[in-house]
């Protein structure tokens, strides 16, 4: 055995072992999963990710509802995404996805949801801004509360309100001469679950952002009608907390410093960063979303339906690939046997990559993989047909094989290139308007095509070289084994 072949054989064997190990449906050690540094921290795992069509759930695509041609700036889009994500988090689901796509679209994926209609209503609804009466107990930022105002209730089980630490307390006051009070409630108690709504976003007239030597503050002006109500309320509640709640989530909980007549007030933010202050100002200003969002598409898939699809695909895949393996063995005998080994390695490598990258598998994605496996033997067939011609022409086994691989190379290269071109077009098409089906197919087909170059050429050739060296003359005289 030549040195190079021996090394290649060892590399192939190691790869095969590694791939099979990754493919195994076992709990892989945590340190190993943590080596996958390209996956987001905390979510590193060696597992197949199924798309919504296979696990069931809701997918909503929201688009910025602006006149044609008008651009949406990235900051507004990001703020909108953040708000949508907050709303989605309120649903208490695991593994949700909220991402911006193509500049003016937000894709929301909610696997395993019970009530998709409610979720759509919550996601698309205009966010509700409220000022709620929290009494003497400030609420921690991020607390989800129930208020006296109707409208979408985010969480089915409101989180018990948690009192905040005094340092973080912003204040609410009339004029510029605000003093941040350090007084905190002495005995924090868990307040009752329903808070009274004093004002809503609709009562706000103007909102700004400014800073002084104490940090950022948000000046605001109320509409005339609300101003009176606010004046009365603040006068009788000095020292208490008035929490700003967006979509039932507390975003800030200032303390009332003094009575605020005339409707002009400010929210002092203390040590908030510019980003935080600006974010809050935006949320107050727009009442909700910095850009209006419209539900563009909504798709729901029943979870059982997804399970059935996975089962059926696996069964179809095993049947289809078994026939391919059998066909190659019967048609090309010992050559086919080697191609079969390469094909099995091909399948193992693909699955391993899906787990490691990770690739989210959709139904068309599985079809793309199966199809690429069916096509994977194409390269081998090209080589074997050439080999047989050369053998008939009287060449020796080894010479025929080398010529076969060399001559077939251009055809193989061309066919792979054209498939990859098609995949690229499909991928771009799929990405640009959120057709994740198309994207899934393009990705698995492309990965398969590239892996195939390795298995069908390097692996099969090495296996054949080693085989021919070991069996040499014996095989040369038994041509039926080579199907010549």
């Amino acid at each position: 055995m030549e040195r190079r072949d021996r090394i290649l054989l060892i590399v192939i064997a190691l790869l095969a072992i590694l791939a099979v190990y990754v493919d195994l449906n076992i709990d892989h050690p945590a340190w190993l999963e943590n080596l996958l540094v390209w996956q987001p921290e905390g979510a590193r795992k060696i597992a197949i990710r199924y798309g919504l069509d296979l696990r069931g759930g809701l997918k909503v695509s929201l688009v910025a509802d602006v006149p044609e041609g008008q651009q949406v700036d990235r900051v507004s889009m990001e703020t909108a995404r953040q708000i949508v994500e907050n709303r989605v988090n309120g649903l208490g689901l695991a593994e949700t996805i909220v991402q911006i796509q193509g500049g003016h679209r937000i894709i929301v994926e909610l696997p395993g949801i019970d009530d998709p209609e409610l979720a759509i209503e919550i996601i698309r609804g205009t966010a509700q801004l409220e000022f709620v009466d929290a009494g003497y107990v400030p609420l921690m930022k991020g607390t989800v509360v129930t208020t006296t105002l109707g409208g979408p209730r985010l969480s089915k089980s409101p989180v018990g309100a948690t009192p905040v630490t005094p340092e973080a307390t912003p204040t609410l006051s009339l004029g510029p001469a605000t003093v941040v009070t350090e007084t905190a409630p002495t005995t924090p108690t868990v307040p009752s679950n329903v808070y009274e709504t004093i004002l809503t976003g609709a009562d706000l007239d103007q909102v700004g952002l400014d800073r002084d030597n104490l940090g950022y503050f948000i000046p605001f002006r109320l509409k005339a009608e609300a101003a009176d109500k606010f004046a009365q309320y603040t006068a009788s509640h000095v020292g208490q907390y008035l929490c700003i709640v967006l979509d039932k989530e507390v975003i800030s909980c200032p303390q009332i410093q003094e009575a605020i007549p005339g409707g002009d007030g400010r929210i002092t933010l203390g040590d908030a960063t510019y980003q935080e202050a600006r974010g809050l100002a935006i949320q107050l200003h727009y009442g909700a979303l910095p850009v209006p969002l419209r539900v563009e598409t909504a798709t729901t898939v029943g979870p059982t339906l997804g399970e059935i699809s996975v089962e059926k695909s696996i069964r179809a895949g095993i049947i289809g690939l078994s026939i391919v393996l059998l066909f190659m063995l019967v048609y090309y005998r010992i050559l086919g046997g080697m191609a079969d080994l390469a094909l099995l390695l091909y399948a193992a490598l693909n699955l391993a990559l899906y787990k490691l990258v990770p690739v989210t598998l959709t139904l068309p994605g599985i079809a793309g993989f199966l199809l690429s496996a069916g096509m994977a033997v194409d390269a081998n067939i090209l080589v074997f047909e050439r080999m047989k011609e050369e053998l008939r022409a009287g060449r020796s086994l080894r010479a025929a094989m080398e010529v076969g691989f060399r001559r077939a190379w251009t055809s193989i290269r061309d066919s792979q290139v054209s498939i990859l071109i098609a995949c690229t077009v499909l991928y771009l098409f799929g990405t640009n308007f959120g057709a994740s089906m198309v994207k899934g197919f393009a990705i698995t087909l492309a990965i398969g095509t590239v892996i195939n170059l390795f298995t069908a050429i390097a692996v099969t050739r090495t296996l054949l070289r080693v085989l021919f060296r070991l069996t040499g003359n014996w095989l040369q005289s038994r041509r039926w084994l080579l199907s010549v």
Partner: protein, 311 residues
């Protein structure tokens, strides 16, 4: 040697008939549905429900529930076997309130819907136009790249224009027949053109062009090897030499596709079936259209130059 090229008139006749039938299907769809292909909600906007009932349902009963919820225009179809109790309903875009009302009304008046086995998709009509444009661009880009690829592959062959043009003609020939097949299935089974259909068409086009290129490759090689032979024989020889490879590859891909069609999920059946058809038609158009066209082209020019000499 079995002579395929000699029978090219047969092939041309078969192809002409298939193309005519395909165009006929498109016309028929146009007459029945007002568009040459039935477009899915991805393109037109609207909603598509796949409802799995716990008991038997009827079309008028389902229709009545949708109409009562302000959705008078519906296209309702049964999916699978009658005992599956699965129905597909297409209508205009629905709101979550409507969906909720529809599901509760269906449970009362028809049969309870098993949400775990049902799906629905709702697309706003505005997005439809955008998707259609994106699809058009994707197809145009793909076509340009494929034609460019063909041109590049044949840049060194004598009369490369003939090969390129024949390959492109064969490609369109395959494309028309695949679209015709889909239109037929649209009429029979209610298949609708969605993003996956475009995917299938693009994939298959690149595969079938590949097939043509492999055959032309062999012709290029054989032209130099058998200099004394006429093109007709060389072409035939090349087809026979490469058809093994074509058929073996197709067979393997076909095994997988047929397995998916028979045992795989119903949702991707049209997708895979389109690819299977495309693959068959693609292979056929390689040896039945592309290569014979090149031969016919050469002979037509020869005949003309012979005539010129006689005169």
């Amino acid at each position: 040697m079995f002579d395929l090229i000699e029978k090219r008139r047969w092939f041309f006749t078969i192809s002409a008939i298939l193309i005519l039938l395909s165009v006929g299907m498109l016309v028929l769809t146009q007459v029945r549905f007002g568009m040459p292909l039935r477009l899915a909600v991805d393109f037109t906007g609207g909603s598509l429900f796949v409802l799995h009932f716990d008991g038997p349902a009827t079309e008028p009963a389902i229709q009545a529930v949708f109409a009562a919820n302000d959705l008078p225009e519906t296209i309702i179809q049964r999916l699978g076997r009658p005992e599956d109790n699965t129905w597909q309903v297409r209508t205009r875009e629905v709101t979550p309130e409507q969906v909720r009302a529809i599901f509760s009304d269906l449970a009362e008046q028809v049969a309870p819907v098993d949400r775990d086995l049902s799906t629905y998709e709702s697309v706003s009509p505005i997005v439809g136009g955008e998707v259609t444009r994106a699809a058009g661009i994707a197809l145009a880009v793909a076509a340009i790249i494929i034609v460019g690829f063909i041109w590049w592959s044949f840049r060194r062959v004598p009369h490369s224009v003939r090969y390129g043009a024949s390959a492109v003609a064969a490609m369109f020939h395959a494309l028309i027949i695949v679209i015709g097949f889909y239109a037929l299935m649209g009429l029979l089974q209610g298949w609708e053109v969605d993003a996956l259909f475009l995917t299938a068409v693009l994939t298959v086009t690149s595969f079938s062009v590949q097939d043509t290129i492999v055959m032309f490759d062999r012709i290029r090689e054989n032209i130099f090897r058998y200099r004394e032979e006429p093109l007709e024989r060389i072409a035939n020889r090349s087809i026979l030499e490469t058809i093994h490879r074509s058929l073996a590859t197709q067979l393997n891909a076909m095994f997988v596709m047929i397995a998916i069609i028979l045992f795989g999920g119903e949702t991707i059946r049209p997708f895979i079936a389109t690819m299977l058809t495309g693959m068959l038609v693609g292979t056929y158009s390689s040896f039945g259209v592309a290569v014979p066209l090149v031969v016919a082209w050469e002979q037509a020019i020869e005949r003309r130059s012979r005539k010129a000499k006689v005169l």
